[in-house]
Subunit: 249 residues, 2 copies
């Protein structure tokens, strides 16, 4: 029998020797270890997922998450950092392990275990140029298309996870630009929770954490009056965290 590489672009290597692996065959008695990244961004008031349009077999013209085999000489998290950098140009991204997907028949080509990672990134124009080059694109999380293998399951699990996590950790800030307005922050939380929040209570709550700094500037893009810009205060947040605080919106 004849199998193709899980990912067959110039960036996906056979884990044992780092050489291109286009049309070799998989060893059925051997574990392959992959990493798949569920990358979220926030744009235009909507939570987005980065998907990759495969241009070659297998799964030509189908969508998948951004992934790669893990090389024998790197850890799973090193692999995920590597491909995130490759696809978005970003380093120092908020990325956490979701869970391991290891069903025997999850990948017909390989006995392949995948460690899924979810990441939150700030979308900007540079990134959008790069992902276009790579054949990736953003899709709205309310309209997630069919993805290969068990990738849809991974996305569902990741969404559940970020909803939970966002109740302790100010992950919202990872998705917004450095300067943001409170109405934008609220929209993000509404996108994460998929429900409306009361603007007065939201503002009160956010400000009560005392981890954002009001700037003099206003953002007048979405309103004539303009909304004050704020910045996240990492220093104060770290202090707060140390004292065992819980960030719950």
């Amino acid at each position: 029998m004849f199998f193709f590489a899980y990912f067959a672009s110039r960036t996906f290597f056979l884990q044992t020797n780092n050489t291109l692996f286009m049309d070799s065959y998989a060893d059925k008695d051997k574990f392959y270890v992959a990493v798949d990244c569920i990358i979220f961004g926030f744009d235009n008031g909507k939570l987005k997922l980065l998907v990759f349009n495969r241009k070659i077999d297998p799964y030509r013209n189908l969508l998948s998450l951004i992934g790669s085999f893990v090389k024998i000489g790197e850890s799973v998290s090193e692999a995920s950092v590597r491909i995130l950098k490759e696809f978005t140009g970003l380093e120092n991204v908020y990325m956490k392990e979701l869970k391991t997907y290891s069903s025997v028949d999850r990948d017909p080509g390989y006995r392949c275990l995948s460690v899924a990672q979810y990441a939150l990134i700030r979308i900007n124009d540079e990134i959008n140029v790069l992902i276009k080059e790579k054949g990736a694109k953003w899709v709205d999380i309310e309209e997630i298309p069919q993805l290969i293998l068990d990738h849809n399951e991974m996305v569902t699990d990741a969404l559940i996870r970020i909803r939970k996590i966002s109740r302790y950790k100010p992950i919202g800030f990872e998705l917004l630009p450095q300067k943001f307005t409170i109405p934008k922050l609220q929209m993000l939380y509404e996108a994460i929770y998929q429900r409306e929040l009361d603007s007065r209570n939201f503002r009160k709550k956010i400000l009560s954490f005392d981890v954002i700094i009001k700037l003099e500037e206003k953002d007048r893009v979405s309103s004539k009056k303009g909304a004050y810009l704020y910045q996240f205060d990492h220093h104060k947040y770290k202090k707060l965290q140390k004292s065992g605080y819980n960030f719950e919106v």
Copy 2:
């Protein structure tokens, strides 16, 4: 170079063929996939960890978690269910994935990735007979001995996890016998959180969830007056969970 199996008891197999693997050598260019279980129990008012005393090389006479290689024909969770059953005789145990440990140098013998799982079990005499046979034993979580490889790190991570999880899910009930008293339940939560709780507020809170059923019987082991026994009401709990409830003590 010459390497030994990660676990070398009759229960640990080479993942490719399920045959005994005592003194063969590892393929350094190949990923081995292992599972390690952080098994918690509750006994005598203390939270306990199940550790395994290795009687053969490598790591003879050292302590480790209960673990195994994952076989090529099973998923990670199937492997963890398998070894949990083998060591404790238990099936249908509360067990969840903790995270993946995959540093390149975490195991000097193998390029081995381990998916750690944490489990909560009800200790009883039967189990204690079986674990003794297997060479395993309970240690107090406040006095965890040195374990092999990165197993201490796994335990630390698991403790952090169960402290977090116990704020949403009534995991406490997984660790207690079917019939338990409120003071015992409180002791358990105190062991998990490592801090004292107010008995009046604790009782009020627990009863407000309306998921435990008061029985007519009393447990007079730790008091002359005796404490009423209660039972967990799984049915009511499931209903509650569906309605989006949060179980936080």
